[in-house]
């Protein structure tokens, strides 16, 4: 048996007095690909950072051992770590937007790594950088190397970061959520590329991700972490198909995979919302001409059912949602909300919204009770006593204890906050709830709970949802009808089964193929 490249045993990391990692262990053979999976706060990123000696702030390794090629680097000095980092252990960071220096040319940033490790003189490094960029799949690398980061798209920047990570031909590449900021189709390209490069170079890959499907797709071994501990480790297939630990079982069950298609009953055919031929043009500043953020969009939301709008960033789905909510005035077309008196106030009362970020959409200075009663106060519903009773009722409906009413948002977890946001949306008894990426910022298990909650509420209260999402798997598990958007236009729409099982448009098929883990689950 060959010596493992990286071996982490019983690692303990604390931030101040707060333990973040409490006994993590993993082992990586040369050329092997291992994925570390876990929810936020599980200590997966901290483990990766500890390996590189890059713990932020008050973070310290308090126990355990990290050995790289048999050498104990747990408490290695900065000098030794500097020699290792980049040269033998490469890193692909999470956010391609903030990890490149905005005022330095791309070529120079790649060359810098080479020069820093003494692999090339300044002059050679320049040519070498262009070669490396070409290898990273950048078209016209000679010209691209002279450009600045803002001239690159998110996917291209991530390619550059991968190129930098691999520039010195390290034996180990640590990729910390390398694609979570990217669209699914771009994510797929990047991961394919990463896989090919590491394979060609024989580099071992430590992939840190929250996405179980992605981990299973891309790694030989999967290590599942929860609350700072490794709960299960093993071959990818085995973890997904026959999970052993309770937490992994829940994680697998909660993953919005493509195989779970609960039957949808389509009782009524009474449209609540009708959007007909809606467009929105933005004049481009300085240049003349116009940007069509939404172009001739039409769809309906049936009573008691869910219509989902799916698309990648820039597809116009959020613009469409904002037009429905009356936050943006459409350039052309009509939006009809049935059963209202037609005034703006009436429309807004009948239509409430739940936003993506549960940390941003609740005023931090308000108590939960004040948050939930705000729409009631605005629309003048009830008096003080009846509102208070309504708060308890609503909290109960969204699965929160009425005792939470006096808490502030910063005392709640992400999932609890999103429940409060849903309770607030339900307060004025709307007919339509617009969920703008309402579950995208949540961890898989919490996401699953919130989706179930939305489903139950729909059944009990006969609500209709307009569900905006970039995640086809989530859409499948909640929607009745799907509208697929791209570049401001609707490319395909219809019942969820029809669109997702036998997509007519190639773009829809492309989106479906890009979902990580699809092949493993089916």
């Amino acid at each position: 048996m060959t010596e493992p490249l990286l071996e982490v045993t019983d690692l303990q990391v604390s931030f101040g007095d707060v333990p973040a990692v409490r006994g993590a262990g993993l082992r990586l053979m040369p050329g092997e690909r291992v994925a570390v999976v876990g929810a936020s706060g599980s200590g997966k990123s901290t483990t990766a950072h500890a390996v590189m000696g890059l713990l932020p702030g008050a973070g310290r390794v308090t126990g355990g051992r990290i050995s790289f090629r048999g050498e104990d680097i747990t408490h290695a000095g900065e000098k030794r770590l500097c020699a290792l980092r980049g040269r033998q252990i490469g890193l692909v960071p999470q956010d391609p937007m903030s990890n490149l220096n905005p005022v330095a040319r791309i070529g120079r940033q790649v060359a810098e790594t080479l020069v820093a490790h003494g692999l090339a003189s300044r002059r050679e490094a320049k040519d070498r950088a262009v070669e490396i960029l070409a290898e990273a799949g950048l078209p016209d690398p000679g010209r691209r190397a002279r450009q600045y980061p803002h001239e690159f798209s998110g996917g291209m920047r991530q390619r550059v970061l991968i190129a930098i990570g691999l520039a010195c031909r390290p034996d180990l590449l640590i990729a910390d959520e390398p694609t979570s900021a990217l669209d699914v189709t771009v994510q797929r390209q990047i991961l394919d590329h990463l896989e090919k490069l590491t394979q060609d170079l024989g580099t071992a890959l430590l992939l840190v991700t929250h996405d179980l499907g992605l981990a299973a797709d891309r790694a030989d071994h999967v290590v599942v972490m929860s609350e700072g501990k490794v709960v299960e480790a093993g071959p990818a297939r085995q973890i997904l198909t026959a999970p052993d630990h309770d937490y992994t079982k829940r994680l697998v069950a909660a993953a919005p995979s493509l195989t779970t298609t609960p039957p949808r009953d389509r009782r009524t055919a009474e449209p609540v919302l009708e959007v007909v031929g809606v467009s929105k043009e933005y004049r481009i500043r300085g240049g003349g001409g116009a940007l069509r953020a939404a172009d001739d969009v039409s769809f309906t939301v049936q009573r008691g059912q869910t219509t989902a709008i799916v698309g990648e960033s820039g597809s116009g789905k959020t613009t469409t949602a904002h037009m429905v909510l009356g936050l943006v005035t459409p350039t052309a077309g009509t939006i009809r909300l049935n059963g209202t008196d037609g005034t703006r106030r009436g429309r807004r009362r009948a239509m409430q919204a739940v936003f993506q970020d549960p940390y941003g959409s609740l005023d931090p200075m308000f108590t939960v009770e004040r948050l939930i009663t705000e729409p009631l106060r605005i629309f003048g519903i009830g008096d003080r006593a009846s509102r208070r009773a309504r708060v308890s009722q609503l909290l109960d409906q969204v699965g929160l204890s009425p005792a939470m009413a006096q808490r502030y948002p910063n005392e709640l977890s992400g999932g609890q906050r999103q429940r409060v946001a849903i309770a607030r949306a339900l307060a004025p008894e709307p007919r339509l709830v617009v969920c703008d990426e309402a579950v995208s910022a949540l961890d898989v298990l919490v996401q699953d709970q919130i989706l179930r909650l939305l489903e139950n509420l729909q059944r009990e209260l006969g609500l209709s949802y307009l569900f905006i999402s970039h995640d086809l798997a989530v859409v499948r598990s909640i929607a009745h009808d799907v509208v697929v958007m791209r570049g401001g236009r609707v490319v395909e729409q219809g019942p969820v089964g029809q669109v997702l099982d036998s997509p007519a448009d190639p773009y829809t098929r492309q989106l479906l193929d890009a979902i990580p883990g699809a092949t493993v689950f089916s």
Partner: protein, 295 residues
């Protein structure tokens, strides 16, 4: 429907408790707070703490050294007790400071809110603020005081007006930031009006920035009062003021330095107290340093 989140709620405590705790853990903040407390007690209780009325002259004992029997900090050219005058002068300084901060807040905050919220108004308000800022703060204050004449009230008004533009800027910037936040967007979808959004959402969230700015204005107003009085444009003799004391002492500097040293120290302590406390308050209120527990 009794699903429970796997993540237990993190008990972070109320915002106020956290801010106080952080202030307490900042040594400079504690020093500033203690200084501030001493200064405020001295100012508020000056009539009871001072051994003599501030303007009582003792022609038989001018230019006494500090720690003379009967005159703890000595006397000035007219034999007035320096300690009594410093205490009363501190009181006057704080009065002017508080009044001018109030004026800057009362005028600057609403203008800042409106300018941040409505673009067309922003053009008018911000340009006016820019014009005022083009003149150095003191020139504006001196000019206004010269037009209005001396006196404690006029000094406060002059300093208050001179500080309005910076307050407008701070509040406007906060409003611009908060206007784009998701919770304001959510309020829009609930059909909340401008009044509710500004008063209910933006103002409470901008409060910490306003408080910090007030602690910045306060020492500059105290300093401004001393300068105006020194120039004869602020508080008029024989009323005690730290600035007047400095101006009087300056004429007799070759005979004794002490009547000038103590008011100088008092001004320095007041400003230091407010600045240190203000800095610590800013750090404690900064959300960027307060999310560490959330990791």
């Amino acid at each position: 429907m009794t699903a429970v989140d796997p993540v237990a709620p993190v008990a972070l405590g109320r915002v106020r408790g956290r801010v106080l705790r952080k202030l307490w853990h900042n040594p400079l903040g504690v020093v500033g707070g203690v200084l501030l407390l001493i200064v405020i007690v001295a100012g508020v209780f000056a009539p009871w703490l001072a051994p003599y009325p501030p303007s009582q002259v003792h022609f038989t004992t001018p230019f006494q050294q500090p720690f003379t029997v009967g005159f703890a900090l000595g006397t000035d050219d007219l034999g007035r007790d320096v300690l009594s005058r410093v205490l009363h002068g501190t009181r006057a300084s704080l009065e002017v400071g508080v009044l001018s901060v109030l004026l800057a807040v009362v005028v600057g905050v609403p203008l800042g809110l409106l300018a941040g919220y409505w673009r067309w108004l922003d053009a008018v308000v911000s340009r006016l603020a820019d014009v005022m800022l083009a003149f150095p703060f003191l020139i504006v204050a001196v000019g206004l005081a010269a037009i209005n004449g001396g006196g404690i009230g006029n000094a406060a008004i002059a300093l208050g007006i001179a500080n309005i533009p910076t307050m407008i800027r701070v509040v406007r910037a906060e409003t611009l930031r908060l206007k784009e936040s998701d919770f304001v967007l959510a309020a829009h979808t609930m059909d909340a009006g401008a009044g509710r959004i500004l008063g209910g959402h933006v103002l409470p969230n901008a409060l910490s920035a306003i408080i910090v700015q007030a602690t910045v204005i306060m020492p500059s107003a105290v300093l401004g009062e001393a300068i105006l009085s020194f120039l004869g444009l602020g508080i008029q003799p024989p009323d005690p003021s730290l600035g007047i004391m400095l101006s009087d002492a300056q004429q007799y500097l070759f005979r004794t330095v002490w009547p000038g040293v103590f008011p100088g120290i008092a001004i320095a302590l007041i400003c230091l107290g407010f600045n240190l406390f203000g800095d610590a308050l800013r750090d404690a209120l900064d959300p960027k340093t307060s999310h560490r527990e959330g990791r």
